[in-house]
Amino acid sequence: MSETLLKVRGLKIGATVFPPGEKPHDITIVHGVSFDLAPGKVLGLIGESGAGKSTIGLAAMGYGRGGVKITGGEVFVNGRDILKGGIKGLRELRGAEVTYVAQSAAAAFNPAKKLMEQVTEAAISHGKFSKSDAEKRAVALFAKLGLPDPENIGERYPHQVSGGQLQRVMTALALCPEPDLVVFDEPTTALDVTTQIDVLAAIKEAIRDTGVAALYITHDLAVVAQVSDHIMVLRGGNTVEYGDTDQIINAPVDDYTRALVTVRSIDHEEKSPSDNPVLQVKNITARYKGTNFDVLSDINVELHAGQTLAVVGESGSGKSTLARVITGLLPPSHGSIEFGGHTLTPDLPNRPMEDLRELQMIYQMADVAMNPRQTVGTIIGRPLELYFGLRGEEKRKRIRELLEEIEMGDGFVDRYPAELSGGQKQRVCIARCLAAKPKLIICDEVTSALDPLVADGILKLLLDLQKIEDVSYLFITHDLATVRAIADSIAVMYQGRVVRYGPKSEVLAPPFDDYTDLLLSSVPEMELGWLEKVISSRKMESAGN
């Protein structure tokens, strides 16, 4: 084995794009990237969407997804330039020397085959292990990765195990042939935060115990700080900064890296509750038609004028359902909602226009929240027409003001949503809400589809607007960093119930209930050794009990 396991020099990657109505043309997505990886070491590749990080990861296996082609540079694995070996050489490499863990294990497993067969397939077909040895190895890996019933889980089909478990099985699949290098492509991004920490710990331990090297690709710097020895920060297919993890996290040189490190450190001082509640949710219980269990049971929360209530929970906690109940899309089976001093009609069609105007909503996916056939001007102008009867110059003037407020110029009036960036789309959605001059805006995961820096910008904008417009936010999110940044009070939801509720300072201070403790301690922090600290403290706790 040579000193460097993976040596990448001047890697250039291109793709052919087919823009509709134009001639197909080639673009470059990675512009000459170089790095080295020693055996047993972990390199984190980090960047926002479009940075080219996954593309670089796959290039280590000589693979281009879709129309992606490696157009220049050299990739050496164990001293051999894999780009010169032809497809036969690549097949000998893939699944034997280098293996891959995909972001969505649920899609990456063949639904028609048992897990064991898929986990051992590469090891057997490359002749690394006999069938029985490979299966023994797989069972050992299942056990090491903390999967339940490691002896028999291989007999199941992919749809029969949970998402977090499947991600571990995928890791076992990658480790089974005893590779020299594993490419982890956002392996925990699709998981809930409390599941993520366990999978992350399992992956880290497996990497350490098997002595394998890894490329760890993610958009979350806090996550990569826990597992990698070195970090490469990428932006738009270029290297921004490349160094060891300690240096990147604690002494970043580049401005962009510094921005990534300090992201989500917005400080928001909590306002004390006034005696003027805008929204009171009273004893709300709700279930969906045709089901026999309550998605929400006995919810009681309150939101004061000009303040923000963050509703936080993982998928399935019922937090989005609460928004549907408040907006009237799902009338509750029990309980009532007080809004601005009167009781809201439970179902949407019977609500007076004035209530609809005062209660607005912003969605997670800004690009499907706007009609693609309407211009920004139409989108923002419609509430002005509908609620205030504004027409002509008066309306145009107000649209311009709103565009100023969301820090976009009036040059955007005639643009279509498809022509805007992700952050701009979300800003237009915010302007559409503001046009109605609402008392309350429900924000449903409004930043979770955005890259961290863009998300920060949106949060800052929302806070500024709150000061100017004195509007209240009901902020639904799974992300605790966002909660810290924006909330005045917090409701933690778990399995359809509010398990903890109060002012931010109280909710985020001990003593905690079990779930809140688990949730809070699971959020990755931008700190070296955080993962070990959490895991060992959890072990001590469970030993103590």
Binding site: R91, S104, F109, H159
Partner: protein
Amino acid sequence: MHPVLTLVAQRLALGILLLFAASALIFVGTQILPGDVAQSILGQSATPESLANLRKELGLNEPALSRYFSWLGNALQGDLGTALTNGRDIAESLGSRLGNTMFLAGTAAVISVPLAIFLGLLAVRYKDRWPDKLISAVTLTSISIPEFLIGYVLMYFISVKLGWFSSVAMINDGMSFFEKLNAIALPVMVLVMVVLAHMMRMTRAAILNVMQSAYIETAELKGLSGFQVIAKHAFPNAISPIVNVVMLNLAYLVVGVVVVEVVFVYPGMGQYLVDHVSKRDVPVVQACGLIFAAVYIGLNMLADIISILANPRLRHPK
């Protein structure tokens, strides 16, 4: 009971229900339309006596509902009534014709199904290269021309100009199997061309859909050979959509057969149906309509059941 069996049973029950509803619809289509059936059968010049006679013969004086149930009851026992035009028993005349039709459609299916799957695979293998483009051009042309015209084009060039096969497809019981095959060569060719186009296109789409799945990428990143990827990972997941494609096209074949039989004067059910539609022989039309609908519904049901059985999520529930 295993959940898959429940689903299959549900689908079977739905098929039977659909068949009953279809029979009602066919009955309604012929009986309770505006205007008088007897009048439209005999034409404007009919005498009042002959109209009254026909009404009686058709049982038109009975209420429609009881006529429907007695018709359905008889049909279930294999009694399809007698033809108005020649007074023959319909079930008897249909017997051998149904056999002939099945022979024609069956031969076309035996040739077209493997060919379509093979060509579909070829189109996928050479996606966006000339074999794929050629296949899709031929497909586009053949779905743009009605079946009967393809029939005449083949007849003109192959049978008349080249003098290869006979331009009419007469068969009788005295012929040997190979003589029969030779006689139906042209109509089979037409049917194959028509369903082949659809089947190929749909097979291609089905396989491409599977090939774009993330688990195919996983298999490729395991360093498996192209053949292993297709045989072990793509094929097991492509069976269900392909079977579905095949079934849908067989159902389509059943309809195509009607027209092709007329073109080649083939003594099958399609020709029998068309003949009697122009003669306004309602009982025959109903009987044929019912049989065609039953085959069509049956094949569609089979397609659904096979895809239920092939779905691993349903076969191995949580």
